[in-house]
C-alpha cells in the first residue's frame, strides 16, 4: 500500500490554515487507495482534529523539546524521520513560506524528487505528474519524480479546499530523535500586519496601477476593496513611485497571488505584473486603452476611465451585495 503524508499547520486554536485544507484536499484527489496521514509539529487538539473534515482520519503530532518554538530545520528532520518510519511515497506541503523552507530539505533527506509550486496534479501515487509555471508563468512544465518518492509543494490558493466529512481525526504522538544541531534555525517572533488584509491571503484583490494617476486617487481603489472585503494590491510602477507600500506589490518582484477575483484598475498588463496574478481564477480589468495587454488575459474587461468607472462599479456592487 502506498502512503501519503500531508504537512498541516494550525491557523489558530480552533482551525487549520486554509493552505493546509488545500493540501489535504489535493491528497484526496490523487490518493487512489493510498493511506493519508496528516503531520504537524504544533497545534491545539481542536485545530488538529479538524483535519478530519478534509478526509484524514489520523494526525501525527511530533513532540519534542526542540519543537517548542518553530524551527524549519527541526520540522524538516522530524517529518523526514516519520516519513522514513512508514516508508512514505509522497509528502504534500503547501508552497507557502513555511512549506518552501522544508520541502527542499525533505527532498534531500528522503532522496525524493521535489515538485515545487504545483498548480495541477494528475495520476495517482504509483505515478504522479505535476504541472507548474516557469518563466514567470509564461510557460508550464509537466514534471514527475524519477525516484519513486515525491515531495509536492502546492501553489497557495489554486487547489480549492473541499470539506468532505465531519468526524474528528485522531491525534497520535510521534517522538522524533532530535539534537540541538537540528534546530539551529529558530523563529524568535512573528509580527502580523495590523488592519490591512494581505494580498497573499485575500480571496479578492483590487489592484491599482499607473492609470490611477497619483496616490491621491487610490481611495477609489480602497473604496472598491472595502465594498468587496478585498485586499488592495499595486503594480510595481506605483510602488516604485512611492504611491503604495511594497507589501501591496503584485508581480514578478512582488507577490504571486491566486485570488478568486483580481480587479486590475489602470494597470496595462506588463508581463512582470501578469507573472504575479495570471493564476487568479477570475480577472476583471478596467483600462481606458482598449489595446492594453491586460485585456488579453482578462475574463471581463471594462474599457473606460477608472475615475468614472470605479465609483459606478462600486455603487453597482453595493446594490447587488446589500440590495
Amino acid at each position: 500500500m502506498k502512503h501519503i503524508i500531508v504537512f498541516i499547520e494550525a491557523k489558530d486554536s480552533q482551525s487549520l490554515k486554509r493552505t493546509s485544507h488545500e493540501a489535504l484536499t489535493a491528497a484526496q484527489s490523487i490518493a487512489g487507495g493510498a493511506s493519508i496521514t496528516a503531520f504537524a509539529v504544533n497545534g491545539s487538539e481542536q485545530a488538529l482534529q479538524s483535519a478530519g473534515n478534509y478526509g484524514v482520519q489520523s494526525v501525527v503530532l511530533a513532540q519534542h523539546e526542540l519543537l517548542g518554538s518553530y524551527s524549519s530545520t527541526a520540522t524538516a528532520e522530524a517529518l523526514a524521520q516519520y516519513a522514513r518510519s512508514i516508508d512514505a511515497d509522497i509528502v504534500i506541503v503547501s508552497g507557502n513560506a513555511t512549506g518552501k523552507e522544508i520541502a527542499p530539505r525533505l527532498s534531500v533527506k528522503l532522496k525524493a524528487g521535489l515538485l515545487p509550486d504545483c498548480i495541477a496534479l494528475s495520476g495517482d501515487t504509483t505515478s504522479i505528474a505535476a504541472t507548474r509555471p516557469v518563466y514567470a508563468g509564461k510557460a508550464h512544465i509537466t514534471v514527475h519524480s524519477a525516484s519513486g518518492k515525491a515531495i509536492i509543494a502546492l501553489r497557495p490558493n489554486v487547489f480549492t479546499a473541499k470539506q468532505i466529512g465531519s468526524d474528528a481525526a485522531t491525534i497520535t504522538a510521534f517522538s522524533p530523535n532530535l539534537e540541538a544541531r537540528h534546530a539551529r534555525v529558530q523563529v524568535i517572533s512573528t509580527m502580523k500586519n495590523e488592519g490591512t488584509l494581505d494580498v497573499a491571503e485575500a480571496d479578492i484583490i483590487v489592484s491599482g496601477g499607473r492609470g490611477m494617476k497619483g496616490p491621491e486617487h487610490f481611495p477609489l481603489v480602497e473604496q472598491l476593496a472595502s465594498t468587496l472585503g478585498a485586499a488592495v494590491g499595486a503594480s510595481r510602477a506605483v510602488v516604485d513611485a512611492g504611491w503604495r507600500p511594497h507589501g501591496e506589490q503584485v508581480g514578478q518582484t512582488g507577490k504571486t497571488v491566486s485570488p478568486s477575483l483580481y480587479i486590475a484598475c489602470g494597470i496595462s498588463g506588463a508581463v512582470q505584473h501578469l507573472a504575479g496574478m495570471s493564476s487568479s481564477k477570475c480577472i476583471l480589468a478596467i483600462n481606458k486603452d482598449k489595446d492594453a495587454p491586460i485585456f488579453k488575459v482578462a475574463d471581463y474587461g471594462i474599457i473606460g476611465d477608472v475615475f468614472e468607472v470605479l465609483p459606478k462599479l462600486d455603487a453597482s456592487l453595493k446594490a447587488m451585495l446589500h440590495g
Binding site: K111, V134, H140, M191, K192, Q252, G301, I302, M320
Partner: protein, 248 residues
Amino acid sequence: MNILVCISQVPDTTTKIQVSGDGQTIDKSGVKFILNPYDEFAIEEGLKLREQFGGAVTALTVGSETSKEILRTALAMGVDKACIVKTDAQLDSYNVAENIAGFAKNISPDLIIFGRQSIDFDSSSMAPMVAEMIDMPSISVVSSWKIEGNEIQAERDIEGGKEILSTTLPCVISAQKGLNDPRYPKLPDIMKAKSKPIEEIEPCHGNHLVSLSSMALPSSKRVGMIVGDSDADITSIVTALHEQAKVI
C-alpha cells in the same frame, strides 16, 4: 569572512517565451540573457559583508560558456574570485544544488548567499536544498539582518506579516529584493573584469530525481467579455461576476 555567492543567468524579464522543437525547453533564438535580478542583491550583500568583516567573496555559477557573462558582472562589481561549473546539460535544481554543494564543501565558506529565486524556474529551493546537502542552517527570503560574531538575527516576509529568526554561522541565506541597493559596476572595473580569470570546474552528474516530460505555453481559457463603460455595461459585468463567474 569567506563568502560564496551563487548566481545564475536567466532570460530577460521581457522575453516572449516560445517552446522549442524538443517540447521541453525554451527556444533560445533571439533571447537576451541577464544576471538573475535577485542575484544582484546576493552579490551586493557579499560585498557589503566583506567591507564590514574583511575576507573574500567568490561568485559561482553552474552553466554553459555564456554564463561567464554574469561572472564578469560580479567581478566588475568587486567579487574576488569567479568560478563556473561548466556544463551545457539542462540540470534540474537538485543537480545544480549537488554541484554547488560539492564546490562549497571544498572551500568551507562562512556564508553562502543566493537570490530568493531564479526567474526562469522560480523554484525558490536552492538555499534550503544546498544547506541540507552540506548540513548548514538556512533562512530564505531575508529582507534585513544583522550579524554579531557568529550570531545572526534575520527578518523575512511571511503571509500577512514578518518573522524574526535566529541562527548561527556558517549558514546559507537567500536575498529578498530590498535587502540592499546593488552597486552599479564602474566602466574601468567592467573593462578590467573582461580579462580576469574564471576558474572552470567539471560538473558532477549526481542523482536524477525529477524528470521533465513537457513544456507548453499556458492555454488561455479566459472568458474574454470586454465591454464599454456605460451604466448598462457596468451592470452586465457585475451580473456576470455574480451569476457566471460566481466570485461575488
